[in-house]
Protein backbone atom coordinates (compact mmCIF):
# COMPACT_ATOMS: atom_id res chain seq x y z
CA UNK A 1 0.00 0.00 0.00
CA UNK A 2 1.47 3.37 -0.97
CA UNK A 3 1.60 6.31 1.35
CA UNK A 4 -0.98 8.11 -0.75
CA UNK A 5 -3.46 5.30 -0.21
CA UNK A 6 -2.68 5.29 3.50
CA UNK A 7 -3.39 9.01 3.63
CA UNK A 8 -6.71 8.57 1.83
CA UNK A 9 -7.69 5.76 4.18
CA UNK A 10 -6.87 8.02 7.12
CA UNK A 11 -9.13 10.72 5.71
CA UNK A 12 -11.95 8.21 5.26
CA UNK A 13 -11.50 6.88 8.75
CA UNK A 14 -11.63 10.42 10.12
CA UNK A 15 -14.93 11.05 8.36
CA UNK A 16 -16.35 7.85 9.78
CA UNK A 17 -15.16 8.75 13.25
CA UNK A 18 -16.67 12.21 13.08
CA UNK A 19 -19.94 10.75 11.85
CA UNK A 20 -19.98 8.22 14.65
CA UNK A 21 -19.32 10.98 17.19
CA UNK A 22 -22.53 12.74 16.18
CA UNK A 23 -24.63 9.76 17.32
CA UNK A 24 -24.36 11.30 20.78
CA UNK A 25 -26.77 14.04 19.65
CA UNK A 26 -29.57 11.49 19.93
CA UNK A 27 -29.09 11.27 23.67
CA UNK A 28 -28.92 15.01 24.05
CA UNK A 29 -32.11 15.36 22.01
CA UNK A 30 -33.92 13.00 24.38
CA UNK A 31 -32.54 14.93 27.35
CA UNK A 32 -33.57 18.37 26.09
CA UNK A 33 -37.01 17.08 25.13
CA UNK A 34 -37.37 15.62 28.60
CA UNK A 35 -36.42 18.92 30.27
CA UNK A 36 -38.98 20.95 28.35
CA UNK A 37 -41.75 18.34 28.53
CA UNK A 38 -41.31 18.34 32.30
CA UNK A 39 -41.48 22.12 32.27
CA UNK A 40 -44.75 22.08 30.36
CA UNK A 41 -46.21 19.43 32.69
CA UNK A 42 -45.21 21.40 35.76
CA UNK A 43 -46.52 24.71 34.47
CA UNK A 44 -49.79 23.08 33.47
CA UNK A 45 -50.21 21.81 37.03
CA UNK A 46 -49.15 25.01 38.77
CA UNK A 47 -49.06 28.04 36.45
CA UNK A 48 -48.12 30.43 39.25
CA UNK A 49 -44.64 28.89 39.46
CA UNK A 50 -43.96 29.43 35.74
CA UNK A 51 -41.23 32.02 36.15
CA UNK A 52 -39.22 30.09 38.73
CA UNK A 53 -39.56 26.83 36.82
CA UNK A 54 -38.41 28.46 33.60
CA UNK A 55 -35.14 29.40 35.29
CA UNK A 56 -34.58 25.82 36.40
CA UNK A 57 -35.50 24.54 32.95
CA UNK A 58 -33.00 26.86 31.28
CA UNK A 59 -30.32 25.64 33.65
CA UNK A 60 -31.19 22.02 32.87
CA UNK A 61 -31.22 22.82 29.18
CA UNK A 62 -27.75 24.35 29.35
CA UNK A 63 -26.36 21.39 31.27
CA UNK A 64 -27.87 18.92 28.79
CA UNK A 65 -26.80 20.89 25.75
CA UNK A 66 -23.23 20.89 27.01
CA UNK A 67 -23.16 17.11 26.62
CA UNK A 68 -24.19 17.46 22.99
CA UNK A 69 -21.44 20.01 22.56
CA UNK A 70 -18.88 17.59 23.97
CA UNK A 71 -19.80 15.26 21.11
CA UNK A 72 -19.67 18.08 18.58
CA UNK A 73 -16.29 19.07 19.96
CA UNK A 74 -15.03 15.51 19.51
CA UNK A 75 -16.26 15.54 15.91
CA UNK A 76 -14.41 18.81 15.26
CA UNK A 77 -11.27 17.52 16.91
CA UNK A 78 -11.31 14.33 14.86
CA UNK A 79 -11.93 16.23 11.63
CA UNK A 80 -9.62 19.22 11.96
CA UNK A 81 -6.96 18.59 14.55
CA UNK A 82 -5.53 15.13 13.89
Amino acid sequence: MTRMEKFEMLEGAKSMGAGAATIASAGAAVGIGNVFSSLIHSVARNPSLAKQLFGYAILGFALTEAIALFALMMAFLILFVF
Binding site: A62, A66, L69, M73, F80, V81
Partner: protein
Protein backbone atom coordinates in the same frame (compact mmCIF):
# COMPACT_ATOMS: atom_id res chain seq x y z
CA UNK B 1 -10.98 44.24 47.20
CA UNK B 2 -12.50 43.22 43.89
CA UNK B 3 -9.77 45.11 42.02
CA UNK B 4 -7.19 42.80 43.57
CA UNK B 5 -9.22 39.81 42.40
CA UNK B 6 -9.41 41.20 38.89
CA UNK B 7 -5.70 41.91 38.75
CA UNK B 8 -4.93 38.44 40.11
CA UNK B 9 -7.15 36.79 37.53
CA UNK B 10 -5.67 38.88 34.76
CA UNK B 11 -2.12 38.00 35.77
CA UNK B 12 -2.88 34.28 36.11
CA UNK B 13 -4.49 34.14 32.68
CA UNK B 14 -1.69 36.10 31.12
CA UNK B 15 0.97 33.78 32.50
CA UNK B 16 -0.92 30.56 31.74
CA UNK B 17 -1.75 31.50 28.16
CA UNK B 18 1.79 32.52 27.50
CA UNK B 19 3.20 29.36 29.01
CA UNK B 20 1.05 27.36 26.68
CA UNK B 21 2.22 29.52 23.83
CA UNK B 22 5.83 28.94 24.82
CA UNK B 23 5.23 25.22 24.83
CA UNK B 24 3.84 25.37 21.30
CA UNK B 25 6.72 27.53 20.10
CA UNK B 26 9.23 25.06 21.51
CA UNK B 27 7.41 22.21 19.79
CA UNK B 28 7.44 24.06 16.47
CA UNK B 29 11.12 24.90 16.85
CA UNK B 30 11.93 21.27 17.48
CA UNK B 31 10.04 20.32 14.36
CA UNK B 32 11.84 22.93 12.28
CA UNK B 33 15.22 21.72 13.40
CA UNK B 34 14.35 18.13 12.50
CA UNK B 35 12.22 18.39 9.35
CA UNK B 36 10.13 15.30 8.83
CA UNK B 37 11.03 13.30 5.77
CA UNK B 38 7.53 11.91 5.38
CA UNK B 39 5.96 13.86 2.52
CA UNK B 40 3.01 13.18 0.29
CA UNK B 41 2.61 14.50 -3.23
CA UNK B 42 -0.98 15.49 -3.92
CA UNK B 43 -2.63 14.97 -7.26
CA UNK B 44 -1.83 18.37 -8.82
CA UNK B 45 1.75 18.54 -7.70
CA UNK B 46 1.07 20.08 -4.30
CA UNK B 47 3.57 18.81 -1.76
CA UNK B 48 2.08 18.47 1.69
CA UNK B 49 3.59 17.46 4.94
CA UNK B 50 1.41 15.73 7.52
CA UNK B 51 1.00 18.77 9.77
CA UNK B 52 0.04 21.18 7.04
CA UNK B 53 -2.31 19.57 4.60
CA UNK B 54 -5.18 21.16 2.76
CA UNK B 55 -8.45 20.64 4.54
CA UNK B 56 -11.63 20.18 2.58
CA UNK B 57 -11.61 20.10 -1.23
CA UNK B 58 -8.12 20.71 -2.54
CA UNK B 59 -7.77 23.68 -4.80
CA UNK B 60 -4.06 24.14 -4.61
CA UNK B 61 -1.85 25.90 -7.14
CA UNK B 62 -4.00 25.35 -10.21
CA UNK B 63 -2.49 27.12 -13.20
CA UNK B 64 -4.80 29.71 -14.77
CA UNK B 65 -4.19 28.47 -18.32
CA UNK B 66 -6.06 25.21 -17.77
CA UNK B 67 -9.77 25.16 -18.62
CA UNK B 68 -11.92 25.84 -15.62
CA UNK B 69 -13.18 22.77 -13.83
CA UNK B 70 -16.32 22.33 -11.81
CA UNK B 71 -18.29 25.37 -10.57
CA UNK B 72 -17.46 24.36 -7.01
CA UNK B 73 -13.76 24.64 -7.77
CA UNK B 74 -14.23 28.03 -9.46
CA UNK B 75 -16.19 29.33 -6.50
CA UNK B 76 -13.56 28.08 -4.11
CA UNK B 77 -10.90 29.87 -6.16
CA UNK B 78 -12.97 33.05 -6.02
CA UNK B 79 -13.60 32.78 -2.29
CA UNK B 80 -10.00 32.20 -1.45
CA UNK B 81 -9.72 34.59 1.45
CA UNK B 82 -11.85 32.24 3.53
CA UNK B 83 -9.51 30.38 5.89
CA UNK B 84 -9.31 26.69 5.14
CA UNK B 85 -10.10 25.46 8.60
CA UNK B 86 -12.88 26.69 10.88
CA UNK B 87 -10.42 26.37 13.74
CA UNK B 88 -8.14 29.06 12.29
CA UNK B 89 -10.02 31.69 14.27
CA UNK B 90 -8.64 30.27 17.53
CA UNK B 91 -5.00 30.66 16.52
CA UNK B 92 -2.79 32.38 19.07
CA UNK B 93 -0.56 35.00 17.53
CA UNK B 94 1.97 37.09 19.37
CA UNK B 95 1.90 40.86 18.98
CA UNK B 96 5.03 41.67 20.97
CA UNK B 97 7.69 39.01 21.19
CA UNK B 98 9.26 38.85 24.61
CA UNK B 99 11.23 35.89 25.84
CA UNK B 100 13.42 35.15 28.81
CA UNK B 101 15.16 31.87 28.12
CA UNK B 102 12.40 29.29 27.74
CA UNK B 103 9.83 31.51 29.42
CA UNK B 104 7.64 33.21 26.88
CA UNK B 105 5.97 36.36 28.14
CA UNK B 106 4.93 37.63 24.73
CA UNK B 107 1.93 39.86 24.43
CA UNK B 108 -0.45 37.57 22.52
CA UNK B 109 -3.92 38.15 21.18
CA UNK B 110 -5.69 36.38 24.08
CA UNK B 111 -3.84 38.68 26.47
CA UNK B 112 -4.83 41.66 24.35
CA UNK B 113 -8.48 40.72 24.23
CA UNK B 114 -8.57 39.96 27.95
CA UNK B 115 -7.18 43.42 28.66
CA UNK B 116 -9.70 44.86 26.19
CA UNK B 117 -12.55 43.10 27.98
CA UNK B 118 -11.38 44.27 31.40
CA UNK B 119 -10.94 47.79 30.05
CA UNK B 120 -14.48 47.69 28.70
CA UNK B 121 -15.90 46.56 32.04
CA UNK B 122 -13.92 49.14 33.98
CA UNK B 123 -14.91 51.93 31.60
CA UNK B 124 -18.57 50.97 31.80
CA UNK B 125 -18.55 50.76 35.60
CA UNK B 126 -16.48 53.92 35.94
CA UNK B 127 -18.67 56.03 33.68
CA UNK B 128 -21.79 54.96 35.54
CA UNK B 129 -20.45 55.51 39.04
CA UNK B 130 -18.37 58.64 38.53
CA UNK B 131 -18.91 61.63 40.78
CA UNK B 132 -19.76 59.44 43.75
CA UNK B 133 -22.46 57.15 42.48
CA UNK B 134 -25.24 57.14 39.94
CA UNK B 135 -28.48 59.00 39.73
CA UNK B 136 -31.57 57.95 41.60
CA UNK B 137 -33.41 57.65 38.29
CA UNK B 138 -31.01 55.54 36.23
CA UNK B 139 -30.50 55.92 32.52
CA UNK B 140 -30.02 52.88 30.25
CA UNK B 141 -26.31 52.38 30.97
CA UNK B 142 -26.76 52.63 34.70
CA UNK B 143 -29.64 50.17 34.53
CA UNK B 144 -27.40 47.72 32.69
CA UNK B 145 -24.66 47.98 35.28
CA UNK B 146 -27.15 47.70 38.13
CA UNK B 147 -28.68 44.65 36.45
CA UNK B 148 -25.30 42.93 36.22
CA UNK B 149 -24.39 43.89 39.77
CA UNK B 150 -27.75 42.90 41.27
CA UNK B 151 -27.76 39.57 39.51
CA UNK B 152 -24.95 37.95 41.50
CA UNK B 153 -25.99 38.71 45.13
CA UNK B 154 -29.37 37.15 44.38
CA UNK B 155 -27.65 34.01 43.17
CA UNK B 156 -25.33 33.90 46.17
CA UNK B 157 -28.17 34.42 48.64
CA UNK B 158 -30.43 31.85 47.00
CA UNK B 159 -27.93 29.07 46.42
CA UNK B 160 -25.74 29.18 49.51
CA UNK B 161 -27.64 28.24 52.64
CA UNK B 162 -26.86 27.88 56.31
CA UNK B 163 -24.83 31.06 56.72
CA UNK B 164 -25.64 34.55 57.82
CA UNK B 165 -25.78 37.32 55.26
CA UNK B 166 -22.51 38.88 56.35
CA UNK B 167 -20.58 35.67 55.83
CA UNK B 168 -22.15 35.09 52.46
CA UNK B 169 -21.10 38.53 51.32
CA UNK B 170 -17.48 37.48 51.71
CA UNK B 171 -17.86 35.23 48.70
CA UNK B 172 -19.66 37.83 46.65
CA UNK B 173 -16.68 39.74 45.10
CA UNK B 174 -14.98 36.63 43.74
CA UNK B 175 -18.17 35.22 42.24
CA UNK B 176 -19.20 38.59 40.87
CA UNK B 177 -15.84 39.12 39.15
CA UNK B 178 -15.95 35.62 37.68
CA UNK B 179 -19.43 36.22 36.32
CA UNK B 180 -18.60 39.61 34.85
CA UNK B 181 -15.37 38.38 33.32
CA UNK B 182 -16.86 35.32 31.63
CA UNK B 183 -19.94 37.25 30.52
CA UNK B 184 -17.98 40.03 28.87
CA UNK B 185 -15.40 37.65 27.36
CA UNK B 186 -18.17 35.55 25.82
CA UNK B 187 -20.05 38.56 24.50
CA UNK B 188 -16.98 40.30 23.16
CA UNK B 189 -16.14 37.12 21.24
CA UNK B 190 -19.34 37.55 19.24
CA UNK B 191 -17.97 40.67 17.55
CA UNK B 192 -16.80 39.65 14.06
CA UNK B 193 -13.02 39.37 13.61
CA UNK B 194 -12.41 39.51 17.34
CA UNK B 195 -11.00 36.70 19.43
CA UNK B 196 -12.98 34.63 21.91
CA UNK B 197 -10.84 34.33 25.01
CA UNK B 198 -13.08 31.72 26.63
CA UNK B 199 -12.83 29.39 23.63
CA UNK B 200 -9.43 28.26 24.84
CA UNK B 201 -9.50 25.30 27.17
CA UNK B 202 -6.49 26.51 29.09
CA UNK B 203 -8.21 29.73 30.13
CA UNK B 204 -11.50 28.17 31.19
CA UNK B 205 -9.63 25.34 32.92
CA UNK B 206 -7.53 27.92 34.76
CA UNK B 207 -10.73 29.62 35.92
CA UNK B 208 -12.57 26.48 37.00
CA UNK B 209 -9.55 24.77 38.52
CA UNK B 210 -8.46 27.74 40.61
CA UNK B 211 -12.04 28.16 41.82
CA UNK B 212 -12.20 24.45 42.67
CA UNK B 213 -9.03 24.76 44.75
CA UNK B 214 -10.49 27.80 46.49
CA UNK B 215 -13.75 26.00 47.23
CA UNK B 216 -11.86 23.04 48.70
CA UNK B 217 -9.90 25.41 50.92
CA UNK B 218 -13.12 27.08 52.06
CA UNK B 219 -14.58 23.65 52.85
CA UNK B 220 -11.59 22.70 55.00
CA UNK B 221 -11.63 26.08 56.68
CA UNK B 222 -15.33 25.86 57.56
CA UNK B 223 -15.56 22.17 58.53
CA UNK B 224 -12.03 21.14 59.42
CA UNK B 225 -11.28 17.52 58.71
CA UNK B 226 -15.03 16.78 58.72
CA UNK B 227 -14.96 18.09 55.18
CA UNK B 228 -13.59 14.70 54.11
CA UNK B 229 -16.98 13.19 54.93
CA UNK B 230 -18.25 14.51 51.60
CA UNK B 231 -16.92 11.27 50.12
CA UNK B 232 -18.99 8.96 52.33
CA UNK B 233 -22.75 9.35 52.79
CA UNK B 234 -24.00 8.69 56.31
CA UNK B 235 -25.34 5.25 57.20
CA UNK B 236 -23.34 3.23 54.71
CA UNK B 237 -22.38 -0.34 55.71
CA UNK B 238 -18.67 -0.52 56.35
CA UNK B 239 -17.71 -3.15 53.73
CA UNK B 240 -19.06 -0.86 51.01
CA UNK B 241 -17.11 2.16 52.20
CA UNK B 242 -13.92 1.80 50.12
CA UNK B 243 -15.88 1.56 46.86
CA UNK B 244 -18.17 4.42 47.77
CA UNK B 245 -15.29 6.70 48.69
CA UNK B 246 -13.77 6.07 45.28
CA UNK B 247 -17.12 6.49 43.55
CA UNK B 248 -17.80 9.81 45.29
CA UNK B 249 -14.28 11.11 44.90
CA UNK B 250 -14.18 10.78 41.10
CA UNK B 251 -17.26 12.94 40.35
CA UNK B 252 -16.16 15.42 42.99
CA UNK B 253 -12.79 15.88 41.35
CA UNK B 254 -14.31 15.89 37.90
CA UNK B 255 -16.17 19.08 38.82
CA UNK B 256 -12.92 20.96 38.41
CA UNK B 257 -12.69 19.82 34.81
CA UNK B 258 -16.32 19.75 33.84
CA UNK B 259 -17.23 23.40 34.31
CA UNK B 260 -14.15 24.44 32.35
CA UNK B 261 -14.90 21.97 29.57
CA UNK B 262 -18.52 23.10 29.45
CA UNK B 263 -17.70 26.76 28.90
CA UNK B 264 -14.92 25.99 26.43
CA UNK B 265 -16.93 23.44 24.45
CA UNK B 266 -19.92 25.75 24.15
CA UNK B 267 -17.84 28.64 22.93
CA UNK B 268 -15.65 26.63 20.57
CA UNK B 269 -18.42 24.54 19.06
CA UNK B 270 -20.66 27.57 18.59
CA UNK B 271 -18.01 29.70 16.92
CA UNK B 272 -16.86 26.81 14.72
CA UNK B 273 -20.37 26.04 13.52
CA UNK B 274 -21.06 29.70 12.74
CA UNK B 275 -17.79 29.76 10.84
CA UNK B 276 -18.55 26.59 8.88
CA UNK B 277 -22.04 27.78 7.93
CA UNK B 278 -20.93 31.25 6.93
CA UNK B 279 -18.04 29.83 4.91
CA UNK B 280 -20.52 27.62 3.14
CA UNK B 281 -22.82 30.59 2.49
CA UNK B 282 -19.93 32.66 1.17
CA UNK B 283 -18.79 29.90 -1.20
CA UNK B 284 -22.37 29.51 -2.42
CA UNK B 285 -22.58 33.25 -3.05
CA UNK B 286 -19.44 33.02 -5.18
CA UNK B 287 -20.88 30.25 -7.38
CA UNK B 288 -22.31 32.90 -9.75
CA UNK B 289 -25.60 31.17 -10.39
CA UNK B 290 -29.12 32.48 -9.84
CA UNK B 291 -30.43 29.32 -8.18
CA UNK B 292 -27.54 29.19 -5.77
CA UNK B 293 -28.03 32.89 -5.07
CA UNK B 294 -31.66 32.35 -4.11
CA UNK B 295 -30.78 29.26 -2.10
CA UNK B 296 -28.10 31.24 -0.34
CA UNK B 297 -30.71 33.45 1.33
CA UNK B 298 -31.84 30.47 3.39
CA UNK B 299 -28.29 29.73 4.45
CA UNK B 300 -27.65 33.36 5.35
CA UNK B 301 -30.77 33.53 7.50
CA UNK B 302 -29.60 30.33 9.17
CA UNK B 303 -26.28 32.03 9.96
CA UNK B 304 -28.20 34.98 11.40
CA UNK B 305 -30.34 32.70 13.56
CA UNK B 306 -27.27 30.83 14.76
CA UNK B 307 -25.61 34.11 15.70
CA UNK B 308 -28.65 34.99 17.79
CA UNK B 309 -28.49 31.57 19.44
CA UNK B 310 -24.81 32.09 20.16
CA UNK B 311 -25.55 35.41 21.86
CA UNK B 312 -28.05 33.61 24.07
CA UNK B 313 -25.56 30.81 24.76
CA UNK B 314 -22.86 33.34 25.66
CA UNK B 315 -25.03 34.87 28.38
CA UNK B 316 -26.41 31.50 29.49
CA UNK B 317 -23.02 29.89 29.89
CA UNK B 318 -21.74 32.73 32.04
CA UNK B 319 -24.86 32.25 34.19
CA UNK B 320 -24.40 28.48 34.35
CA UNK B 321 -20.75 28.84 35.27
CA UNK B 322 -21.63 31.20 38.10
CA UNK B 323 -24.53 29.17 39.45
CA UNK B 324 -22.39 26.02 39.45
CA UNK B 325 -19.74 27.83 41.50
CA UNK B 326 -22.46 28.75 43.99
CA UNK B 327 -23.78 25.17 44.12
CA UNK B 328 -20.30 23.72 44.66
CA UNK B 329 -19.61 26.29 47.34
CA UNK B 330 -22.84 25.35 49.06
CA UNK B 331 -21.85 21.66 48.92
CA UNK B 332 -18.50 22.47 50.49
CA UNK B 333 -19.97 24.54 53.30
CA UNK B 334 -23.03 22.45 54.16
CA UNK B 335 -21.99 18.83 54.30
CA UNK B 336 -24.64 16.21 53.73
Amino acid sequence: MSEIFVLGFCFCFYVSVNTWHAYRIIQINERLQKPMTFKITWKDGLVITPWERPIGPTHGPSDPSSPSGSPVKDALDLAQDVPHSPLDQFAIKSFLDMRVGYLYISFTNPAFFMLLTLGLVFLLFHLVTKKGGGKSVPNAWQSLVELIYDFVPNLVNEQIGGLSGNVKQKFFPCISVTFTFSLFCNLQGMIPYSFTVTSHFLITLGLSFSIFIGITLVGFQRNGLHFLSFSLPAGVPLPLAPFLVLLELIPHSFRALSSGIRLFANMMAGHSSVKILSGSAWTMLCMNDLFYFIGDLGLLSLVLALTGLELGVAILQAYVFTILICIYLNDAINLH
